[in-house]
């Protein structure tokens, strides 16, 4: 993993304030509302889970896709968010919605604190450090002296949030709508972040660290802040998840969670924020799909779904090595290319998907509209 040199996703262009953003949000909101009033409780639970993963993935993508730092231990911050929220709710009777900003703040501090020393490590070493964090997290949550707060291995039960103000919706609809609102808000914030000063500094550090530093960007500060923000997103996701599931335990946050998040991010598409929805859908639904798929092998094939999942994963990466967002972008480009050809205009300036080897200057705007 020769990151950061290797992690150069296919975004030469920065997302910017595009006029097309409001319609996308509006569409998402409408689809969400339609789902909320048509889907069953079980499905809403799954959709809410998707939105929660999406929030965590956006954070991870800010770190990896935009800042070029790798984290194999994002599940650890998800765990802090979840446990923190559960402890606040169960022991201190804090209302659940208040746990979101609290855990956001706490996780930012935790992420910043971890990132400050760890980000001096590069690529491979950072991968090891974060991977180690993911592996040790269940053990820390299980630590005997904390049992009074954490409930040990049997975990902590939380009362799921009640529907407020006698709204005419049930608990599943309420939780789904809360997750929807949170996901859209967090997405909006992320979009503004990457198109602003911080985002440009982040990308500059990813693509050309030395040049960025000579231009006066405080590398350690920006990187650690970025890690903090990524942890913040994971923390919010974790807190929402604790409320949705109504239970936390060390086994909820095994290494598997961290790896799933990594899978979701890459499948969704590095450097694409909307792509994270696709990534979240993948990690929520494809295991179930693999499960029903492997039933064809009969009763003894109870563990095979994960082999099927692995094959799906490799297949999708073969088809879309830059993730689903990358593939869509390529599709759009080639369709445009064809249309351009059809109208027999010289298709000169249409850039191919960037291989990412040329340094992307933060302020550089190609003639290409997005």
């Amino acid at each position: 993993m020769s990151v950061p040199a290797g992690i150069k996703p296919d975004i030469a262009r920065l997302p910017r304030r595009m006029p097309g953003r409001a319609p996308a949000f509006a569409a998402a909101l409408i689809i969400g509302l339609l789902l909320a009033f048509s889907a069953s409780g079980y499905h809403l639970f799954q959709y809410a889970q998707v939105l929660i993963y999406m929030i965590a993935l956006i954070g991870l993508n800010l770190l990896t896709g935009f800042n070029g730092s790798i984290s194999l231990g994002h599940g650890a911050f998800f765990a802090i968010g979840g446990y923190g929220a559960a402890i606040l709710m169960a022991h201190l009777s804090v209302p659940w919605w208040l746990t979101l900003p609290i855990m956001a703040g706490l996780c930012f501090i935790a992420g910043f604190g971890f990132g400050m020393p760890a980000l001096r490590l590069e690529g491979l070493y950072l991968a090891l450090a974060t991977f180690a964090l993911a592996i040790t997290m269940p053990g820390i949550l299980n630590y005997k002296r904390f049992d009074a707060f954490t409930g040990g291995t049997s975990g902590l039960q939380v009362d799921k949030p009640k529907v407020p103000l006698h709204l005419p919706i049930n608990q599943d609809q309420f939780l789904f709508l809360c997750c929807l609102a949170a996901a859209l808000v967090m997405l909006f914030i992320a979009q503004n972040l990457v198109s602003g000063r911080v985002g440009r500094a982040m990308v500059a550090l990813r693509d050309h660290p030395v040049a960025a530093q000579t231009m006066g960007i405080n590398s350690a500060m920006v990187k650690a802040t970025c890690f903090g923000i990524a942890a913040l997103y994971a923390g919010v996701a974790g807190a929402l998840d604790a409320a949705l599931v109504g239970f936390v335990a060390p086994d909820s946050y095994s290494v598997f969670l961290s790896l799933s998040l990594l899978v979701g991010m890459v499948v969704g598409g590095l450097g694409s924020l909307w792509g994270m929805l696709a990534g979240a859908i993948f990690i929520e639904f494809v295991p179930n799909l693999a499960d029903s798929f492997s039933d064809m092998f009969g009763e003894s094939a109870k563990a095979l779904p994960w082999a099927v999942y692995g094959v799906f994963l490799i297949a999708i990466l073969l088809l879309a090595p830059h993730g689903i967002a990358g593939a869509l972008r390529r599709l759009v480009t080639s369709v445009r290319d064809m249309m351009a050809k059809a109208s027999s205009r010289p298709a000169t300036e249409l850039p191919a998907i960037s291989v990412g080897n040329q340094p992307a200057e933060p302020n550089h705007r190609t003639t290409q509209g997005s």
Partner: protein, 290 residues
């Protein structure tokens, strides 16, 4: 005092396993600059192969070498059939492919062989060598095997044309191509060697940790740590790193913080070392041109 020495030797034996595992990680890293997450599962699958052979009454050492050869072939195949296709994909995409391989190998092996714990024989005698009270013959045997593997790897890279070609291909693919080295095959060779070495780690570990589909998952992190601590681009360093990790984890657990936090403390120590010496204890610093 006996207890202390016992802790040290237990640690050294596990360290030997970490060291071989670290060595196999270094092999792939040398060829591709990637850490292979699936290394542990590949080793586990190889060990099941050896187990199956032994169940069919193949003599141990014959089974051992057959497994090493077949693992080599499997490693080459994985590179040729799967990894090759991601040559131009982003690095993280390849990492995800490794994770997918972990899932696939793990569940296919579980499906075929089940999840029950299986015994796996040690090739070394039951009684301790020279009747010493401290070190079991398997423990010292592991160290012996570690050293032999190390020496073979070193000699291979130092004295054979093929080894030289592999090093060249890893360090400067473009020029290597010009002098007629088949760079693509060198990568496959790297994978094959890593798989072969990994299978040795698995067969050495199995008598201690027993054979089940998850046997390597707890070892892999220590292998990573050993490789990174010693210097990921230095085979000698990886072996020393593995041994150091083995002993220090045991001692930290037994005498400093208790076993509950031993992993956390040991890893913190390693990260501490890396902060001071970013390329590992024995690694070469890589200067990148900007």
């Amino acid at each position: 005092m006996t207890a202390f020495l016992n802790q040290c030797f237990s640690g050294l034996a596990m360290g030997g396993i970490f060291a071989i595992l670290a060595l196999s990680l270094v092999m792939i890293f040398q060829a591709t600059a990637l850490l292979n997450f699936a290394q542990g599962e590949m080793a586990m699958a190889s060990t099941y192969l050896a187990w199956q052979l032994i169940q069919h009454r193949v003599p141990y050492w014959l089974a051992f070498f057959l497994t090493v050869i077949l693992s080599f072939a499997a490693g080459v195949l994985i590179e040729r059939l799967i990894i090759r296709r991601f040559a131009s994909a982003p690095v993280l995409t390849v990492v995800i492919v490794f994770i997918a391989l972990v899932f696939i190998i793990d569940s296919v092996v579980g499906w075929i062989f089940g999840y029950q714990l299986q015994e796996f024989p040690s090739p070394f005698p039951d009684h301790n060598w020279f009747n010493n009270p401290l070190v079991s013959s398997h423990q010292s045997g592991i160290l012996l095997v570690t050293l032999i593997v190390m020496a073979v790897v070193w000699a291979f890279f130092r004295f054979t044309t093929l080894g030289l070609a592999m090093r060249a291909a890893a360090q400067n693919p473009a020029s290597s191509r010009l002098v007629g080295i088949k760079v693509g095959w060198m990568l496959a060779l790297g994978w094959g060697l890593a798989a072969a070495i990994g299978s040795i780690a698995g067969m050495m570990a199995a008598p201690l940790v027993y054979l089940d589909p998850s046997m390597m998952s707890s070892l892999l992190l220590y292998g990573f740590a050993g490789a990174v601590l010693g210097g990921i681009n230095n085979p000698w360093g990886a072996v020393l790193g593995g041994l150091i990790v083995g002993v220090s984890v045991n001692l930290v657990g037994a005498y400093l913080v208790g076993t509950q936090l031993q992993l956390a403390v040991a890893l913190t120590m390693i990260i501490g070392v890396l902060l001071v010496r970013p390329s590992g204890l024995f690694g070469r610093t890589i200067v990148t041109r900007v």
